[in-house]
């Protein structure tokens, strides 16, 4: 087969679809979380990672504290106004493709801190894919949230909230390849 025909083939409908789902399958089963634990939920997140609940069973094995080595940001705990710029910076530093899970009432909505120094939900500054309710959520709930995220990844679910996200402080959007914004996605070959 000539080089040209391979390229033609790779552009063909059937092949891309399989490649997409193959990549998605790989991504879903090799999540590297960055635990952004700030408060009580952070402690419960430790239990999720620790013995008994053992997050590693779900292909979210290697906990990384460097945003350059992680693709899943686990926001666990209250995000205060003072912390928000730090969170945004960490999110921007992570490499594509990246996902965000917000664990607990505080991270999702400010929780019961209707207060002057607490950000009312981390989605005020970064795009969130999955919200896990609870104060703190039981470890089982967090595992469920991660499995939900895995299903989203596996089906290449569109994430408009993320594609249109802009840094709240600088107004800059993420450097996404143009294609990921406009072209229709192919989900599971359908």
């Amino acid at each position: 087969m000539s080089q040209k025909s391979v390229e033609d083939l790779s552009r063909s409908f059937a092949f891309t679809s399989k490649l997409d789902s193959l990549v998605a399958w790989g991504r879903k089963n090799a999540l590297w979380p960055l635990p952004y634990g700030t408060a009580c939920c952070g402690i419960e997140l430790m239990s999720v990672m620790g013995p008994r609940y053992d997050l590693a069973r779900f292909g979210a094995e290697v906990v990384r504290f460097s945003p350059r080595q992680a693709d899943l940001l686990l926001v666990a705990g209250t995000i205060t106004e003072k912390m928000a710029p730090v969170l945004v910076r960490i999110y921007e530093q992570m490499l594509e493709p990246k996902y965000v899970l917000s664990m607990g009432a505080c991270a999702s909505s400010g929780g019961f801190y209707r207060a002057y120094h607490v950000l009312q939900g981390c989605d005020k500054v970064i795009p969130v894919d999955v919200y896990v309710p609870g104060c703190p959520p039981a470890p089982e709930a967090v595992l469920d949230g991660i499995m939900l995220l895995q299903r989203m990844i596996a089906t290449n679910q569109p994430r408009p909230w993320r594609d249109h996200w802009k840094n709240p402080y600088t107004g800059k959007s993420l450097d996404l390849p143009a294609s990921s914004l406009d072209q229709p996605r192919i989900v599971d070959g359908k």
Binding site: A39, K82, M83, A115, V118
Partner: protein
């Protein structure tokens, strides 16, 4: 002659030149001695009390806002004597824009407490070297704990501060030394436990200057307490020290109960003791386990957390929640222990005593661990007192002070247990003390579980405790009682109280001012690690960077209570 009369005579003699004491007011509030002094005399009185009466600890400094008074603010100093365990409260009034002289020359520990009062109320402290914001972010305008600040008025922060240090003598903190390497660690760094930020200047590996910035988890606990009824504050206290939540519940409820002047039933006391000691064990597990992680020992963490899970299971059985239990109520416990719970606790104790031996073999008897921690950044007893250390860290420095022995509550005086004391106050000693405390806690729990008192788990005072649900739904009296209590809330009398318990990392104090309404007028928490952590830049000066990380871990800094 009571203690306050002695103090009165003594002070009168000493200060007779100054206006014959016309201005000193002596009183007693719910068992605490209180002296009110004019602000000009304050420092002289503090120095005098420290030298003559040996009030060696400055436990806390806080402000209270009374917008309708002529002199709007009250600055309150909480003193403690390790000699006879007595407490004294010193108060002075300041008007807006006026300043009090700083107490940092008397106690080093006054530093952060004064900064906090400045941040929260705008009270200025003359001659304080670093009087700047501490809990709120640097773009924050106003002073949030003033009564005229709306609880939910948010102000956004858009950037973080560059590296800076404390002003010292001749050198300004924002001027960096160009021959040294500045390094920022955290927030959101594994060694900084999430929300701490440490900035250092390095000469090679050696720390020349260090500074810590806090406030990344300032969740406005005290403002929230002011805007909620007494019982609804309990869930907020859980989230102060989330490693040992029940201890905070107990500390808070104990303060409210003392202001109300009620004593809870024996069974509730026993349950509180068990909860507290179980929490102490899991808190020390976290301290030891994550301390190991910071030194590179990940196995210990995984191993220790399996014990923690077992305690969580006990909590779950008791009330359904794992981490944030909110098990106490003003007047007792929320509910009774389920059938067989005390036996489960006993079984856990048995397992745990084997576990503690294992932990100590794994960590404390480990050669690398010893090498990395022994003799590293020791704190002398005098320094520890000067900074306001309490709890395991103070005891590691060789001071025998444990509130469970010094001012026993809930029947601790009837129990057999020892208080472990260290010698050097280095990191190794701190872990030794913690491990031994776990053993003692097991002893305490076993003694209590062996004869749990019968009787009710809560008071049945209609003006304090909600009636049982079967009464609420079953008869009109219960319904009315429930209705009245929910609408009116429980209302302690006008007054104020400072009450302290021995929490896992030191003295946890609650200073509660009541104006007779259904919400606390002011609730000030004295978190143990706040006083401890402010010594960090001094303690690590001259040590290696890796040792500084080990020091943070050994201090067991919990951001929730540090930042409130």
């Amino acid at each position: 002659m009571t203690k306050i009369d002695e103090l009165k005579q003594e002070l009168e003699k000493h200060f007779q030149a100054q206006a014959q004491n016309q201005n000193f007011k002596f009183s007693n509030s719910v068992g605490d001695d209180v002296i009110e002094v004019p602000k000009e005399e304050l420092i002289a009185v503090l120095i005098h009390l420290k030298s003559v009466h040996r009030f060696d600890f400055l436990m806390d400094i806080c402000g209270v806002d009374f917008p309708n008074r002529e002199k709007r603010f009250e600055v309150v100093y909480h003193l403690f004597s390790s000699k006879d365990s007595s407490r004294l409260r010193l108060k002075t009034q300041v008007a807006e824009g006026e300043a009090v002289e700083t107490a940092t020359s008397i106690w080093k520990g006054a530093d952060w407490f004064e900064r906090e009062a400045y941040d929260m109320f705008g009270i200025r402290f003359d001659k304080h070297p670093n009087l700047r914001k501490i809990l709120t972010h640097h773009q924050f305008v106003g002073h949030p704990l003033r009564k005229d600040y709306e609880a939910d008025h948010q102000q956004h922060c858009t950037e973080t501060l560059p590296i800076f240090f404390n002003n010292e003598g001749s050198s300004r903190g924002d001027v960096l030394n160009e021959n040294l390497v500045p390094l920022n660690i955290g927030p959101s760094h594994p060694a900084m436990h999430g929300t701490l930020r440490v900035m250092v200047e390095l000469d090679g590996e050696t720390v020349v200057r260090a500074n810590c910035e806090i406030g990344y988890l300032h969740r406005c606990f005290e403002k929230m307490a002011e805007t909620h009824p007494y019982n609804q504050v309990i869930p907020y206290t859980d989230r102060l020290n989330y490693c040992s939540a029940p201890m905070n519940n107990v500390g808070y409820c104990k303060a409210v109960e003392r202001l109300l002047g009620v004593e809870i039933p024996a069974k509730a006391q026993a349950m509180r003791v068990i909860l507290c000691e179980l929490s102490r064990i899991i808190d020390h597990i976290i301290a030891v386990g994550t301390g190991g992680v910071d030194l590179g020992a990940l196995t210990a963490f995984f191993h220790l957390f399996s014990y923690r899970e077992k305690v969580y299971t006990l909590f779950e059985k008791l009330c359904g929640a794992r981490l944030t239990v909110s098990m106490t109520r003003v007047g007792g416990m929320a509910q009774d222990a389920p059938e067989g719970w005390f036996d489960d606790v006993m079984a856990f104790c048995k397992e745990m005593s084997a576990g503690v031996d294992e932990i100590s073999r794994l960590m404390i008897d480990n050669k690398i661990f010893i090498k990395r921690t022994q003799g590293i950044s020791p704190v002398s007893a005098a320094d520890a007192i000067n900074w306001g250390y309490t709890g395991p860290l103070l005891r590691a420095s060789g001071v025998n002070l444990d509130l469970r022995k010094a001012t026993p509550y809930y029947g601790y005086d009837g129990l057999n247990f020892d208080v472990p004391i260290g010698t050097n106050g280095d990191i190794f000693d701190r872990y030794l003390v913690r491990i031994e405390e776990m053993r003692q806690s097991i002893r305490i729990i076993e003694q209590v579980c062996k004869n749990v008192p019968g009787g009710d788990f809560t008071l049945r005072d209609k003006s304090l405790v909600l009636p049982e649900k079967k009464d609420v739904y079953g008869n009109i009296e219960g319904l009315m009682n429930h209705f009245m209590l929910v609408i009116k809330g429980l209302r302690p009398p006008v007054g104020e109280v400072y009450d302290a318990t021995e929490a896992a990392n030191g003295e946890l104090g609650f200073y509660l001012v009541s104006d007779g309404s259904a919400n606390p007028y002011r609730l000030k928490v004295r978190p143990p690690c706040f006083a401890i952590y402010q010594s960090f830049p001094t303690v690590v000066k001259g040590s290696m960077l890796a040792d500084a990380i080990a020091t943070v871990a050994s201090m067991n800094v919990i951001a929730g209570e540090l930042d409130r």
